[in-house]
Symmetry: C2
Subunit: 325 residues, 2 copies
Amino acid sequence: MARAAGVSVATVSKVINDRYGVARQTAERVREVIEELGYESSIVARSLRSHRTGLIGVLVAEFEPFSTELLKGVSAAARDSGYQLLAYSGGGTAESQVGWERRSLSRLSGTLIDGALLVTPTIVDGNYRIPVVAVDPHTGPSDLPTVDSDNLAGTRAAVGHLVDLGHRRIGFLGGRPDLESARLREEGYRRTMADAGLRVDPDLVRAGGFRMETSELPARELLGRVDRPTAIFAANDLMAIQVMRVAQSIGLRVPQDLSVVGFDNIPEAAVALPALTTIAQPLHEIGQTATQLLLAMLRGEEPPTRHVQLATRLVVRESTAPPLP
Amino acid sequence: MARAAGVSVATVSKVINDRYGVARQTAERVREVIEELGYESSIVARSLRSHRTGLIGVLVAEFEPFSTELLKGVSAAARDSGYQLLAYSGGGTAESQVGWERRSLSRLSGTLIDGALLVTPTIVDGNYRIPVVAVDPHTGPSDLPTVDSDNLAGTRAAVGHLVDLGHRRIGFLGGRPDLESARLREEGYRRTMADAGLRVDPDLVRAGGFRMETSELPARELLGRVDRPTAIFAANDLMAIQVMRVAQSIGLRVPQDLSVVGFDNIPEAAVALPALTTIAQPLHEIGQTATQLLLAMLRGEEPPTRHVQLATRLVVRESTAPPLP
DNA sequence: ACCGTTATCGACAACGTTTTCGAGATCGCT
DNA sequence: AGCGATCTCGAAAACGTTGTCGATAACGGT
């Protein structure tokens, strides 16, 4: 190997990890040879021996625009600290069952990765062999250190915005009831309404499953009523866009006849017409924070807080206006 | 280790890789113990020894919606074949310089991954140590086996659609001139115009850099003219959406006063208003095909064709109509 | 009953690192 | 000059697997 540089393998190893105990000029010479030969030490062998790889694993349930933005933040933070990223996706329907991440992790955590970020909607508790941080899980509280955004406060901002505009009859289109995020957004809606002294009409609350296809019908139900709401808060942008479509298809003008607010601030929200008022999640920041948390754990520090919640931001665009008198 | 199962490590290894030379019932027993102990063999050690890991690496320049869809196809194909995916992203601006994928690859290909997929706009030729397939590179011809979509035919379909509708003055908003894909789309535009016996007015050709921000100005230039075109073909959807915005901002109606066609069929295209007519790239299929190509190479087969081009599809929505008489 | 063949299994080396520890060299001090 | 302290380096073990090969047992044929 690089012992053709005149020294032993041990010395080379010391130079690479710049350990104490190797002479100035020897190190210099070894470095030169390394450079010259374009030598890269094998992660695999290092891992086998020292259980440290400089790789952090990111388990993504499925690659989608949502996780994508998160990954950018993770990527940036990891790079700053010298760690490399290893995204890992079960990717499929069948495999994304509960326990998938457990199995993946146990296989990888053998030695391949130093720590892991779980970017999966449903996470499984348990003591993993390596540091693990859950990123924006949609499920309930967990043993794992977690980073997500403040769904409750976000929802309050959204509904509050509608209230401030003067809306009284505000409808709600919910997400998948099995996910914590959906539950929180409904709770936020109800609380804000209550705080404003407004009654929640049960007929104005529907579930749309977080997806476009499944929210057309409930949207029609909400808007078809004679006493239809003057504003609708949808638990995510996809459903909000569907609401605007349905509204326009039955002759309602947005925002004059109907105000719509979404949640997530996906790219589509900006180009929709009218552009959608929504709650932006700091995805980039979430990814970044989660990574920093993980890195701290890798350094052996106990994280100051096990659960970080980041603030959301209200993005006012064109889909909201005061109700017609 | 699992020699607590009463046999030697060698035998366990043989059972796991079900090799010839181990008795029926011994194998059975070992398998039971493995199951019971939830034992997972270390990829790392296996890799070090046998240079085969069952992992294929995917190098992504940056996680973005575009690569995301590709990854899904890759993911599906890999799963079907028992291979696991390892996405790897330089992620950043600085590192995504030329040569980044080379370095990453040389580090990983040591032994960690059996083969690699390059999902990067600019690819670097060279003999890698492991099988490599380039996926949808935007650069020119290469030594590497490549899978991408037929930019030329796609463009012809787009411009042909406008011609068929009766448009004569058709403008073109191009991409980044340094990328092969942009070059091909311009060439397709020019050829289709020529085939239809139409003259290309040099004043009707602008470059928008593939991005929204950089295409507002050229869009204004195109539409501000007294003899403005009745239709514009933009080299990607982002620019097409920008064109529609600019048009609407200066009082033009789409599609009555101006028809617009894009390229890519990103999610935003469907929700834009009017919904954008565009050319859909078979991203999922590209990912799938590339993976199958790679798998064939891993099996030692020489791929039948080194360059696969997949057909695009014209998606007619609401942004195109015959020109006003 | 003996020998050759086959089936089954384990000992051992190897993969490329990191880490420990001891040997030799150098240096400084008395 | 002698001795201890310090510095520099390399030999060797270890990480967990796989592949080779030899040993032993079982078996079948004459």
